[in-house]
Symmetry: C2
């Protein structure tokens, strides 16, 4: 059953791919079986992560990047990861209208991902969807996320090249964002570069990069900075050349760099899955046996404290790991 | 030993409190023992979470809120939660200068939290630090976070009242942020309200609130909106009255509302701790036994897939929970 669907995906069947991505987003168990079969067929696509605060023009930039890659005859998969309410689990559609003009192009496949699982399922879902676009044969996979939080950082860490998109003059707290995301950014893009303050933002970024030079991650690549005006398609070709330069660094400079990258990526992917599976298993058990309700009652009435309960759970259910 | 420190904290000794919060931030095991002892003494402070994108003026607003609460004779604890690099774990200091003028006031205690643990330790650390300020006797605890990511959402969910701070005209993607955070916001603040577009932002917010009215969380409170110019202290008194209105709703309208809130808060706190403790235990074990390295090698060489490894780990170490 799943074997047949796997074949269809490897053959690039768009309807099957669309359904599988939806099933991954909905955490359907059968999707996972197909992902297991697809895994050996992944690793060919070049993955580019694009993140930055809302309003910096990421969608327009992605649209231009698609246009550029198509002009070079490359096929492109795009995942737009939308923030989701932790309460309702409902999906929020961002402003992806511009990109939709590519939807009639057979060489482009665009999907939104929205569901956040109960236990941090967004990152595994996104990785799964990337794997599907990779396995279906797309040359490039672009992953756009909204925001600069930890989730987004985790998602873009699945990428070969991570773009951080900024705009000039983002206010007082820019130091905080820049610093927080500096270490995941391979390429910084100052979009809407016609606005006042673009050079100041560039200088600040250069200082931050200089200060962070001792970082050991990603093989010692020094992040680069590009200025774009995505709306007018200005600077996009230069940015794309900058991405290719990072690709060459990763794949051609020293085999140890690529090996390290792949080990890091495998580590993050496996850790995310273990977190999700382990916590889900324990929580299902605690809820089913009624222990969970009892614990909460005890906490609300201050009869116990959360630290002691958590330690007791570890002692009781993970005794094999406590040696 | 820890009993003595607990007594000092309950007595409000500022040096002991400062040291404990630093130890919590550094994930020191002895801090946890003190937190266990403090837990029964918590639950008296009113906790206000303040979040929003960088640059909206949160620190200035918090400064004004401190000023207002002090004017009413209330004591205030402030936690400024800074984004931290997932790679280096290093702390980034935001722009907290304005608040520092309160540092000579005995009734105000301000601390930054920065460390992010390996397995999502930021949220438990912040909860622990809130508990300390609560136990030391502060009437109000203000928790300011930078950003609108999932982490920040989790942190502000520990608050009685959550403020979402916006500024007029945040661009195209404002729909996405607003929607993503709508359900955690009890009170929306349009700061820098003298800027163009404040009324438009207010109208958009009102529409979003109207659309989200069916939400079941937080006892059916309809979020309120305030306009401020924190720099000029405009609108702050009205905002503070709005926060008190939400407090009355939570504590006086219907006992079931408060019970539900406390159960929800206990659930989140316990789940976060279990996640952290369980994953740390399993990961320590896998690393110590050399299994982890083997798994990663297998993944990089595509000899296996992450889904199967994760399932095997659950089967092997959580067999008691798989009935």
């Amino acid at each position: 059953m799943s074997g047949e669907l796997t074949e269809k995906i490897l053959a690039g069947d768009m309807r099957t791919v669309a359904r599988l991505i939806r099933d991954i987003d909905d955490h359907m168990p059968q999707a996972r079986e197909i992902l297991k079969e697809l895994y050996p067929h992944t690793g060919k696509a070049y993955v580019i992560g694009i993140t930055g605060s809302p309003g910096v023009g990421k969608s327009t930039l992605v649209d231009r990047m698609i246009q550029h890659l198509r002009g070079r005859g490359k096929t492109v998969g795009v995942l737009a990861v939308d923030p989701t309410s932790p309460f309702s689990g409902g999906a929020i559609l961002g402003d992806r209208i511009r990109m939709q003009r590519h939807s009639t192009d057979e060489g482009v496949f665009i999907r939104s991902l929205a569901t956040r699982g109960h236990f941090g399922g967004l990152t595994p879902s996104t990785r799964g969807a990337i794997a599907v676009l990779d396995a279906m044969g797309k040359d490039y996979v672009l992953v756009e996320t909204v925001g600069v939080g930890q989730d987004e950082v985790e998602i873009v860490r699945a990428a070969h090249t991570t773009l951080i998109v900024l705009i000039p003059g983002m206010g007082d707290d820019i130091q905080a964002i820049k610093a927080g995301i500096l270490e995941v950014g391979d390429v910084f893009v100052i979009n809407k570069a016609d606005r006042e303050g673009a050079d100041k933002t560039r200088q600040e970024l250069m200082m931050m990069i200089e200060m962070g030079k001792e970082r050991k991650s990603k093989g010692g690549w020094t992040p680069t900075i590009y200025k774009t005006e995505a709306v007018r398609n200005e600077g996009v070709a230069e940015l794309m050349a900058g991405i290719e330069a990072h690709r060459d660094f990763l794949f051609k400079k020293d085999p140890a760099i690529l090996t390290q990258f792949e080990m890091d990526r495998a580590r993050m992917e496996l850790l995310d899955l273990i977190k999700q599976d382990v916590i889900r298993t324990i929580m299902d058990y605690l809820e089913k046996t009624g222990q969970w309700e009892q614990y909460l009652e005890g906490l609300v009435h201050k009869k116990t404290d959360p630290y002691s309960i958590s330690e007791m759970i570890v002692d009781r259910y993970l005794n094999q790991c406590k040696t």
